[in-house]
């Protein structure tokens, strides 16, 4: 077998146009631009029938073509990214409403401008929704026609082999003693064994592979749509709620029991799962030595829960990363803190308050916490207290600090007020802060109290006793029916992405013909998408090696059967000889080319000395 470069024959130019057509057909669907994606740069729709104006239909068509063009997709993607930036840098009402109101108070003018633009609620703003809705409309407008086109082209056979395979970007040519049909058959078998889609014709074989790429591409984009739908499902039918639960107490999943309730659009108070959770024991451990002293090491909440009032209570260990799943809703352990307990008697001597008051941690190294105690119904005057709780209190140069987050030395320090707490009318107040507008501070020094100690209020207003402390956990309750569909959509997104990146559309053509000297010339040609990630070089080289190897094997096999017929043993031709000066032995003109395709006669230049 020899490797030749010369084209199979010098085709007359009359065939040039046909060859060009075949070339175009060969490249059809594999051209530079992705199929079906116009760039909307060229002139688009034709004007209306009279040419005077587009008319409504024309405008709509023009608009649709602009919308579903690749460049619009680019711009919308960029806008989506850019629009998310303020949502990450400015406080958002959905996640951090307190910060938003702080922003308003510290930058009043700027905050009003930003708020007017919807920048404090970016991800719920109409303009953000417009961006992703347009993007997904553009996506649908692209995906549907491409799906139809894929189905259509998958039904069609591969295109015919072009006339001149050497013009393809990957090409190789060699001569073989095999007859053309035998060579083509074995080549076709090799290709179809690799699951190429085949089409044969006189003297050529066309093979195509890689439709999975487009399948993957479409799967990816459709799965993105599915993701959007799943998110919408959650937004309509799901809800999120928060509840702070003191050790030793329990709560039921009703609106009156929740601290915060963010329902989806179609969720009402009667849609909540009726479970109950009781906190039996909460423990937290911290790093006790080393550079990371005080960092939390583990949280554990032992709870009991029941799925409904008629259900019995089950035990459960609630930890971070390990939520409780009950009746489709999930309960997460988010945080923890301390709730000091107080007993307060008023001026008449009656006990007017006796319970735990949750304080909110304001720093993490020692869990110093702040809170307020409100006793609006004390006699003769309403009482209010504001202060801090220090789990491991220590006096550092006159300032009270907490050196460790565990309750080694739990103390409180309170400022006392009396008067009108302003709770009988007006807007609702936070339970963690005191509105001192109608109150006057009492002249009693805020000395820190240890457990059991009390403050005697002046003017016979009463007494506060710090009786102990409890720990609390903050729980987040979520229900999202779109969660599982979102997961499956995400998996489909990834699968589509991998498919579309790893598979490439490629076409391989084989031509076998007889040249003037009677040798069979086998041409192999291949092409792939221009923006493919590459790697086709190896595949083509491998195919070439394999097919040429097959042809060699065929020759060897038929030669071994030929030895029975008594033909002189001829050494197999050298596999690859450069047709350089030392190798250009023309075929023996006296040796006829046998018409029988089954006989393989070496017509290569390498003739043994014994010939």
């Amino acid at each position: 077998m020899t490797w030749l470069r010369t084209p199979p024959e010098a085709k007359p130019d009359a065939h040039a146009a046909e060859a060009a057509d075949q070339d175009a057909a060969a490249r059809d669907g594999l051209g530079a631009a992705p199929e079906g994606h116009r760039d909307a740069a060229g002139p688009a729709t034709t004007p209306g029938p009279t040419g005077l104006s587009l008319g409504v239909a024309g405008w709509l068509r023009w608009f649709w073509r602009q919308l579903t063009s690749m460049r619009t997709a680019l711009i919308l993607l960029f806008l989506l990214a850019a629009g998310s930036i303020p949502g990450s840098l400015l406080p958002q009402v959905g996640t951090n409403p307190v910060s938003v109101s702080q922003y308003y108070s510290s930058h009043p003018v700027l905050a009003r401008i930003l708020g007017g633009l919807g920048l404090f609620n970016v991800f719920g703003a109409p303009w953000f929704a417009a961006i992703y809705i347009l993007l997904f409309t553009s996506l649908v407008g692209c995906v549907l026609p491409r799906t139809l086109r894929l189905v259509g082209s998958a039904r069609q056979p591969p295109p015919r082999a072009p006339g001149n395979l050497s013009r393809l970007p990957f090409a190789v040519s060699y001569a073989t003693p095999l007859a053309p049909d035998a060579a083509l058959n074995s080549a076709a078998k090799a290709l179809s064994a690799k699951r190429f889609r085949m089409r044969t014709g006189p003297g050529w074989v066309a093979a195509e592979k890689g439709y999975l790429r487009e399948v993957g591409n479409l799967l990816f984009h459709i799965a993105l749509l599915g993701l959007l739908v799943s998110i919408g499902l959650g937004g309509l039918f799901g809800y999120k709620a928060d509840r702070l639960l003191v050790n030793g107490t329990s709560f039921a999943n009703t609106v009156t029991a929740l601290d915060e309730f963010h329902p989806g659009r179609l969720v009402g108070p009667d849609n909540l799962q009726p479970f109950t959770v009781a906190l039996d024991h909460f423990s937290a451990s911290y790093v006790t030595s080393g550079a990371l002293l005080g960092q939390p090491a583990a949280f554990n909440a032992q709870i009991r829960y029941s799925a409904s009032p008629t259900d019995r209570m089950h035990s459960y260990d609630l930890t971070v990363n390990h939520p409780l799943i009950v009746d489709g809703a999930r309960v997460f352990l988010i945080g923890h803190g301390y709730a000091p307990e107080f007993r307060i008697t008023d001026g008449t001597g009656r006990v007017v308050f006796d319970g735990a008051v949750p304080f909110i941690p304001v720093e993490t190294s020692g869990l110093v916490s702040e809170g307020a105690i409100k006793v609006p119904d004390a006699n003769p005057q309403g009482l209010g207290f504001v202060g801090v709780f220090l789990p491991s209190a220590i006096d550092v140069g006159g300032r009270l600090e907490s050196y460790f987050p565990a309750p080694d030395n739990p103390m409180v320090s309170l400022v006392s007020y009396a008067g009108n707490l302003g709770m009988n009318s007006g807007p609702s107040q936070s339970v963690y802060s005191l509105d001192t507008a109608g109150l006057h501070e009492l002249a009693v020094s805020p000395k820190p109290l240890a457990v059991g100690q009390s403050i005697k209020l002046p003017n016979g207003l009463g007494r506060l006793t710090y009786t102990g402390y409890q720990q609390w956990v903050s729980l987040q309750i979520t229900y999202d029916p779109g969660q599982t569909p979102a997961l499956w959509s995400g998996i489909a997104v990834l699968a589509g992405l991998l498919l579309s990146f790893m598979v490439r559309r490629r076409r391989v053509f084989v031509r076998a013909s007889t040249d003037e000297a009677g040798n069979t010339i086998v041409d192999l040609g291949g092409l792939t998408r221009s923006d493919a990630a590459g790697g086709f070089e190896e595949e083509f080289a491998g195919l070439a090696a394999e097919i040429s190897g097959l042809h060699e094997a065929q020759i060897d096999a038929s030669r071994s059967t030929d030895t029975d017929t008594g033909e002189a043993a001829q050494p197999g031709p050298e596999p690859h000889v450069p047709p350089g000066p030392q190798a250009s032995v023309p075929p023996d003109p006296e040796r006829p080319v046998p018409p029988d395709p089954e006989q393989s006669v070496p017509s290569g230049p390498e003739q043994s000395a014994g010939e």
Partner: protein, 371 residues
Amino acid sequence: MPVNTGLADISNDFLLTAVVIYALAMLAYACDFAYGKKKLPALRAATASAVAEVEPAHDVAALVGAKPAAAGAAPPAAGAPPAAGGSGTASGGIGASGVSAGQGAGGVIKGVPRRESVGRWVTIAVVLTSLGLAAHVSGVVLRGLSVHRLPWGDMYEFVTALTCVAVAFFLAVMIRYRAYYLGLFVMAAVVLVLGLAETVIYTPAGPLVPALQSYWLAIHVTAMTLATGVFFVAAVIGIAYLFVDRHARRVAAGRPTGSDGILRRLPGPEVLDRLAYRTVVFGFPIWTFGVMAGAIWADRAWGSYWSWDPTETWAFITWVVYACFLHARATAGWRGRRAAYIQLAGFACLLFNVLVISLVVPGLHSYAGLT
């Protein structure tokens, strides 16, 4: 389990050693530019007396065309048109050294370039890079052993791990695609970043906060580390592309190009563009998977799979910008330089996320370990 500070110290030593070895490798790559071979070794077929072999499939996997990294701009032999950094053919044949198939090269398949051998300096540089990588991996592994968990739980560990991934990925790319010219730039970036990690953002070894104690750490942060390492290499290639492209345009316009010794030894812009694209294509699914794994973990830990936390949002922005890049390469008028800008913008978003958001902006992701 208590932290093994002895192992942590040895880990630091290994990482510092890695930085030093990488710096030496960087010098070796630079020496290759300065003193490397100027000529291609002659193509074998032109002088061979015997048989030229068909390359078995695994030998022809070179992306670089007839311009090897170790040589100057010498045209390939056998009269084939110079590769000029790109293909003359219509749809993506890489390099044109194969055009001469049969005319004198023999055994060469059109479109599939041959492999050339490399010079001495490149060999030294690759050996040094591998040694440095071994030290780097040891450092990362020892850190993990000292804290009894996967060693990417805080910013310092994340940076050391991602640079390790970047070097390993770059080593694979470099050898497979013969892209030795990238060595200087990738090593320079790695040395810089790793040096910063050891000095500015160093965090002592310690256990993880409870919120991070989950097997999802292995999945999510590993994926993000891998993807960041890969995008790191892509960004370096992108910057090299911009310089080479500017140089090529200047040459084409006939304008003076200034001192361009290094630039002339790099392959043409199309090659770098293709390489950057393939790198991003490799990293994008990993990033997608990492974001999804993070969403699943967030769902288990914080109750909702997407809460527009700043780090989540910027990971999303990064994803969208890289998606922009992939779309841009398929859009006429947006290939080449504009696409490279988009790719670099994507990496800038990634850096912003890692360096600024997780340190400065409060959110659920504040686990940098820095006070």
